[in-house]
Amino acid sequence: MTELPLEAVLFVFLLVVGIVVGRLRNLFGAAMLTGIFSFLSAGLFTLLTAVDVAFTEAAVGAGISTVLFLATLALTDDTERESERSWLAIGVVSLTGLALFFGTFDMPAFGDPDAPIHHGVGRHYLMHSWDEIGLPNVVTSVLASYRGYDTFGELAVVFTAGIGVLLLLRSKAAVMGAKAKPIPVRSRAPYVREMPIVRAVAKVMLPFILLFALYVQAHGDFGPGGGFQAGVVFAAAFILYGLVWGPRAVQGIAPERMLEGGMAFGVLLYGGVGVAALFAGGTFLDYSAFTPEHPSHGQHWGIFLVELGVGITVSAVMVVIYFVFTARPRPRLPKRKKGALAPPRLTAVPELPVETPKEGSS
């Protein structure tokens, strides 16, 4: 196994990062490290040939969730108080770990091609999905057709999260930052938009990110990609735009109502394809029923449409979540020690003339 040393190195890094996240009391640093943990995992997934998983983990874990953590820290505290050592926790964790360790005793060896997991359905998909569906990327065939109902449920989970975050963080007082009070200039940490190089780079990159998102959406049939990854990348473009020019600038392009509609529309599109299959005489999500004389055509159309639904809902939900977090007025300014590093602000940038873009250490 040639990749063994690289895997081992990644594992060591992951362990170190995981332990440091636990010990670090600066939450800003811990958030970055959590993102790095995800990123290293994505590297590991690539080595383990799970390219779709790697792509998604990189976009979600290292991208969106880091942004969310930072946005939350801007609204809460960025330093953790000391926790006492909890023997109960150590006991529970040791017990769980030991149980899992014993569980590996009857597991087949890593990579064993004769393991039961590689027979059964997994083998069926690899052997027959070309005839039954006809897409080169088997992951997409399984995701959108064989187990398409799971993906429908997954989309519902994303939609649920969008609704939940809206219910929690959008109150009348803070409808998308419209009434957010401007924060006094002197107390602000540096805004990303005050950094000219970042602005210039962002400007150049944006169209490419959007183009890439469309490519990923369309390319899921042939290689790693698909609706979910595309949605996240698409949302990332908007978030980048928001980081640099302020969330309100994004609202000019993507108004709140449109996003909320998009959240719902994707789910309805996915479910609509399923219901349409009922009318075509099949069962729910049976795409073959659309073109009974040539089932794989129906499969291609169905997969295209449901992936589109996934892309729309995922991108809308991600942007909405980013908006509500950043539009939330900050409750109180944290007192920070002299010389402490201030995190870059990701919250709503009040559209004020910038007088003195001082470094945030003061």
Binding site: F11, G18, V21, G22, L27, A31, T34, S41, L44, F45, L48, T49, A50, V51, D52, V53, T56, E57, V60, G61, S65, L68, F69, T72, E80, S83, A89, I90, V92, V93, S94, T96, T104, M107, F110, G111, D112, P113, A115, I117, H118, V121, G122, Y125, L126, P136, N137, V138, V139, V142, R147, T151, V157, V158, A161, V165, L168, G223, F228, R328
Partner: protein, 133 residues
């Protein structure tokens, strides 16, 4: 079962426990969520490790032939696609949970002024005592 054949699983278990320990032992709510994130990513790793076939490539067909006549080469060893599909779903569930958890953390900070578990419990108790009397 030897170190050579099973060490992947064991490292992944260690990673999972690192995350789980942060969730249970830390009192800071944001930190708990970071631990949860590490825990979940490690579980995803467990599935991906199980789906790996020695010498296998990514489960995207290696095509032979040109254009419409291209057919997949089924003699190539591919990794198992099913764990990958399941874990795409799990990643999504993870980020959804994270977003909701962080939204709750923001509201807790706004209404309690803190995101530390012991302080919140203390404030709840004080409130309960004032209602009792």
């Amino acid at each position: 079962m030897t170190l050579a054949t099973h060490w992947h699983y064991w490292v992944v278990i260690a990673l999972m426990m690192t995350g789980l320990h942060i969730v249970i032992a830390r009192r800071n709510y944001v930190k708990k969520l970071m631990g949860l994130s590490i825990f979940q990513v490690s579980v995803i790793m467990l599935y991906v490790t199980m789906g790996k076939v020695a010498g296998g490539t990514a489960p995207v067909y290696v095509m032979e032939g040109e254009g419409h006549d291209a057919v997949p080469n089924l003699d190539v060893v591919y990794s198992n696609p099913v764990p990958h599909v399941l874990m795409l779903t799990a990643i999504v569930v993870g980020i959804a949970t994270m977003a909701l958890g962080l939204a709750l953390v923001v509201r807790i900070k706004e209404s309690y002024g803190t995101v530390e578990d012991d302080v919140v419990i203390e404030k709840d108790r004080a409130e309960e005592e004032s209602l009792e009397s």
